[in-house]
Subunit: 331 residues, 2 copies
């Protein structure tokens, strides 16, 4: 079996760390592993398969001889490094938003459009975490009747803001419990015992950049240019795992029973849907694993072509690192 020489761009960050764990768990055929990060991480080390590996500075020369680059850095770094990665002949599976909507870059959710991987010209983009979790949850329903539009309200964990998010939330809550202040640094406002209804900057029609991602990325992933998503993205004081309250509108009515049966056997999903027994997805149950839990499936009170559901998934795992490694496996 071929072994691959892999670089991780942004290996010290929250998503980069998860990529290392997922490569280990899935026994990815790694010949050499090269952790890269900005010069701020100079001197850092990572562990991989019980070995300690020094982190090297991400610069153009680093990619010589590399087969595959898993990108866990920001968009600016991804754009800066892409030419060198391409010149080295490596494939770049990038988690940033930099290339997601470019015409010659496949945007892939492993359970939804794996065939798109074949079209790549050196770069494959990993979608936004909320997009991955939502589409993994609902895609099995698209085969029953095409999904036309969605309305989602998200409940996004602080780990989505990077490794500093959980630290800030825990220290801030503890400070408040002791009557002290803990001024926000990672977030614009205190997040402990609060909600912040803004993720990303203002984009168009009063939506934020985060809120427009499901709309545009969904169109590309589903190959349905008239798909429409209206999102409200909210940061909540949860450490890990994003949750989504979704209203899904189909071309024709889909029954609750049809939806349950489809999701029960859908790849990447676990059906957790028994209100009478108080069983439904919760972020505390879905963290540090790869499935998207789906429950609270019910019909809309007004529109016979719409269903509601509630789903939770670990946005660092399935919402980022796991999906990126799955893309690498598809290659």
């Amino acid at each position: 079996m071929k072994q691959y020489r892999i670089a991780i761009l942004g290996a010290t960050g929250a998503v980069g760390q998860q990529m290392l764990r997922v490569l280990e768990e899935r026994q990815f055929p790694v010949e050499t592993l090269l952790p890269l990060a900005s010069s701020r991480s100079a001197g850092a080390v990572i562990t991989f398969r019980d070995r300690t590996i020094p982190v090297e500075t991400a610069e153009a020369a680093a990619f010589d001889g590399i087969d595959l680059v898993l990108g866990a850095a920001d968009s600016e770094t991804a754009v800066a490094m892409a030419p060198a990665i391409r010149a080295a002949g490596a494939v770049f599976v990038d988690n940033s938003s930099a290339f997601r909507l470019e015409a010659d870059v496949p945007l892939v959710v492993a359970e939804v459009n794996p065939q798109d991987v074949k079209q790549h010209k050196g770069i494959i983009s990993n979608p936004n975490c909320t997009t991955i979790i939502t589409l993994t949850a609902v895609y099995a329903l698209d085969a029953i009747s095409p999904i036309r539009s969605m309305v989602i309200s998200s409940y996004q964990a602080v780990s989505g803001a990077g490794a500093g998010g959980p630290v800030e939330l825990m220290r801030q809550t503890e400070a408040i419990c002791h009557g002290r202040e803990y001024p926000p640094q990672v977030f614009a406002y205190p997040i402990a015992y609060n909600l912040i209804p803004q993720i990303g900057g203002p984009q168009e029609h009063g939506y934020t950049s985060e809120e427009m991602k499901l709309h545009y990325e969904g169109r590309k992933i589903l190959h349905r240019p008239d798909f429409k998503a209206s999102s409200t993205c909210v940061r909540v004081p949860v450490l890990r795992s994003h949750s989504v309250s979704a209203r899904v509108t189909f071309e024709r009515p889909v029954s609750v029973e049809q939806a349950r049966q489809a999701i029960a056997v859908a790849p990447g999903c676990r059906l957790v849907d028994d209100l009478a027994q108080m069983r439904y997805p919760m972020p505390r149950d879905t963290s540090c694993q790869d499935l998207v839990y789906v429950g609270r499936i019910r019909r809309d009170m007004a529109d016979p072509c719409s269903l509601h559901l509630w789903c939770c998934g670990d946005q660092l795992r399935k919402g980022a690192a796991t999906n990126a490694v799955q893309i690498a496996e598809l290659l």
Copy 2:
């Protein structure tokens, strides 16, 4: 000015305590104040206008000579006490869900349907907290074009579960910060750093009792029997103030600018809607006051007749105690 002899049923609970504060703040003409609670609260005292008043046991004989009873107890107590309150000739403004949907009981949001108070036959019901907050936020839009349906996802604070909710959340978060367990008592699952997508028991079509309230109460308050609401109600680790992500569907298109102008001057509302300046409603800003803050107003991406908005309000104040005292003022 006539002075009233007032009893508070459930005076030691979270809502009862707020009723005392709201009566003080609004300088309600109180001649005598009688705090009532179950025998479990025997020996307790409350303070009102700098006086300490012993809590008496809620029983039929307690209502003799009372003009007005503000109900802050559970449905069972409300049903048990209603005949005695009626026999005493007092008006019962009840915050429980016991009588809300009965034909001869007005269900009133002070800013929406104050005229309904006149129809009372001894009992007036205060709506559910999420219903009050949501309808106060959107009612000004109904005059531009009638509201036909709504899709809401709620983010409900732990104080909605009574005075024990905030205590459990704070102790549980602190325990987790120190690596300890704090088993849930008030809630079915740990709420610290978690979300619980169930409030109330299973009711119909897979919705919970809490989720059906906006649907049925909204029909009665708006006098629109074909109004439809599809709700997902979620408990979040916030101490106080409920938040709601709402999609409102009108008979005809309503522009974002029309909606902003209407909400800016709507009674009971404060427009906080400037994404570029990072101004929007947040629960930490709306607690311990009476206005419902409304922001993030924008059009739906799929339906020209729908708008989205985000609102926050203190569910113990406007969502319960303040609205009850407003009803008493209307009398």
